[in-house]
Point group: C3
Chain length 222, copies 3
C-alpha cells in the first residue's frame, strides 16, 4: 500500500468524530448484550422493572468510564453529566427494548448489520483506549502500569462491570467474570493499551501516532 494513502487513512480514522454514529453502534451492541443476557425473560423483565432495566443498560453503555473513574478516584457519577450521551443511550435502550414489533432488535441482530455495528464499535473502542491512556498519563506521568490498566478499563470495562450490572437486575453469577476468561476484545485492549503507553515514550516507537493508532485498531479487529 502506498505510504501516502496509509498515512492519510490513519489520520482520518483518528480524527473521526465519535458522536453520534459510533456511539450509537456501541450503545446498540451494549443494550443488546443486556437484553440477550436476560434471554427468555427480557420482555417480561423490561416491562416489570423498567428502572432496573434502564440502569443496567446505562451501566453497560458507560462501563469503561465508570470503571476508569472508580480506579482513578474520580466521581463515579461523571458519565451522567453528559446529557446528550445519556439521552442518546436512553433512546437506544428504549428502541431496543420497546420498539413496536421488536423491529430495532431484530434488525440489529441481522448478520450484515451486526458486522457493521461491530466495526463502528471497534473504531470507538480504539478511541476510548487511546483517550484512557492519555488521561492516565496526564495524571500520573511515569506510571506505565496505571496507563495500561486505565486504557484497558476504558476499552473493555464492560466485562468487569457486567458482574455488577447483573446485580442491579437481581442476578449474581460470580463464576462468570471477565477476569477469569478474558475475551479476545479484552486482550486486544490490553495490547493496544501497552502500545499506546509505550508510544508515549517517544524513543520506543518511532512511527507516527496516526499509524500506531491504525495498528492498534487493526489489532483489536483481529
Amino acid at each position: 500500500m502506498d505510504q501516502e494513502i496509509l498515512l492519510d487513512a490513519a489520520s482520518r480514522v483518528q480524527r473521526l468524530k465519535m458522536f453520534p454514529y459510533f456511539d450509537i453502534a456501541h450503545y446498540v451492541l451494549m443494550v443488546i448484550s443486556v437484553r440477550d443476557d436476560m434471554s427468555g425473560t427480557a420482555s417480561l423483565f423490561s416491562r416489570k422493572h423498567p428502572l432496573s432495566c434502564w440502569l443496567s443498560s446505562m451501566l453497560m453503555c458507560f462501563a469503561g468510564s465508570f470503571l476508569a473513574n472508580f480506579l482513578l478516584g474520580e466521581p463515579v457519577i461523571a458519565p451522567f453529566k453528559r446529557h446528550d450521551d445519556i439521552l442518546l443511550a436512553t433512546v437506544v435502550w428504549y428502541l431496543v427494548f420497546y420498539s413496536p414489533f421488536d423491529i430495532v432488535y431484530k434488525f440489529s441482530k441481522m448478520t450484515p448489520v451486526k458486522i457493521a455495528l461491530s466495526v463502528l464499535k471497534e473504531v470507538q473502542r480504539a478511541y476510548k483506549v487511546s483517550h484512557g491512556v492519555a488521561h492516565a498519563a496526564k495524571l500520573y506521568p511515569n506510571s506505565y502500569l496505571v496507563h495500561i490498566l486505565v486504557g484497558t478499563a476504558k476499552g473493555a470495562g464492560s466485562g468487569v462491570i457486567r458482574t455488577f450490572e447483573q446485580l442491579v437486575r437481581g442476578i449474581w453469577a460470580p463464576a462468570h467474570n471477565e477476569l477469569l476468561r478474558p475475551t479476545f476484545a479484552t486482550k486486544g485492549c490490553l495490547a493496544a493499551s501497552i502500545i499506546f503507553a509505550l508510544e508515549k515514550q517517544s524513543y520506543y516507537i518511532s512511527a507516527p501516532h496516526d499509524i500506531v493508532y491504525l495498528v492498534c485498531l487493526m489489532l483489536q479487529h483481529g
Copy 2:
C-alpha cells in the same frame, strides 16, 4: 388555608434543626430495620458479632451519605468525621439491641410511636434530599441528572446500601434489591429530587422555595 399561615408553616419546617430529634427518629427506624432483617437470630447475632452488627447499623444510618459520597467521588468515610452523629447513632444502636427487657425496641414498635418516628424521619428525608440536590448543584451546575440522582441517593440510599449491609452480616440476597422493586419512599425521593432540581432553574417553578419544600415533604408522606 390562609396563604400567610401556609408560608409561615413552610418556612418553619424548612428551618427546623435536624439534630438531634429528627436524626434520632431516623436512626431508631434504621437500626430497627437492621434488627428486623435478622428476624429470629437478632439477639444471638448481636451478642456474637457486635462489630458486624454495629457496622451494619452505621451503614444503614448513614446510607444516603455513603452512597452520595461514593457517586460524587468524595471520601466514603466522611460520615465518620461527624463525631456527635456517630455517637448518637451508636447510642441508639446500643439501646435498640441491648436495652434491658428490650423496652426500647418494643416501645418503638408500638403503632403510635412508630407513626411519630416516621413523620419525623420524613421531615429529615426532605431536608436530606434538598441538601443533596443543592450540594450536587454546587459541584456540577448544569447536570440536572446528577442533581436528581444525588438527591435520590441521599434520601433513599438505604435501599441500595442494604445489599452491602447484608454482606457485612454475611448474608447475600441479590434478588431483593431496591432497584428491582423501588419502594414508595424511593419514588417519593425521586419526585422530590426532580422538583428541587427544576426549582433551581427559577423559570420553571415560580412558587417560593418554602412552599416547594412543603410540597415535596407532602409528596413523600403520600
Copy 3:
C-alpha cells in the same frame, strides 16, 4: 530491662526500612494465603487463569492500601503507581505459584521459615498502621474515628478485601468475612490504631513515640 537499651531498640525498629525484606515477607505470606484458599485446585487454576490469579494476589498484597484509598476517596489504583513494589510482588507471586518443584512454596511453609516471615510481616504491619493513622490525621485533624478506621484498614484490610479477591477468582463466600469473626490480627490493628490515634493528642500518652511504637508492635504479636 535497661531503659537506654529499650529506647535504642525502639528507635531502631521504627527506623527500619521496609523495602524490600519486610515487604517480601508480607507478599510471600499473602500470596500463600491466596494459594491456600484455592486448596486442591491451585496448580490447575494458576495455569488456566494466570491473569485472575495475578490480580487476586496483587489485591491481597496491597489490600490495606486499596481499602484505605477507597475509604478516603483517593485513587484506588494508586498502589500500581509504585513500580518496584508491584514488580517485587509479581516476582514473589511467580515464585510461589510456578517455581520448579514448588520449592519456594514448600520452603515458605516450613515452620521456622513461616515464623520468621510472620515476625517480619508484623513489624511491617505496625509500620503500616502508624502511617495510616498519620496520613488520616493529616487529612482530617480532629476525626479520631477516621484515624482509627484508616489505621485498622491499612493494617488488616486483607480480611475485608478477601471477599472481593475471591470474587475475582469466581468464588463468592459472603458468610466468611472478616467483620463477622475478626481475627486476632484485626483486633491487634484496632488496638494499635487506637493507641496511635491517642498518641497524636500528646496529653493522653506521654511516653516517647518510639516506645509507643514498640508497645503497639508487641501488642500485635500477642
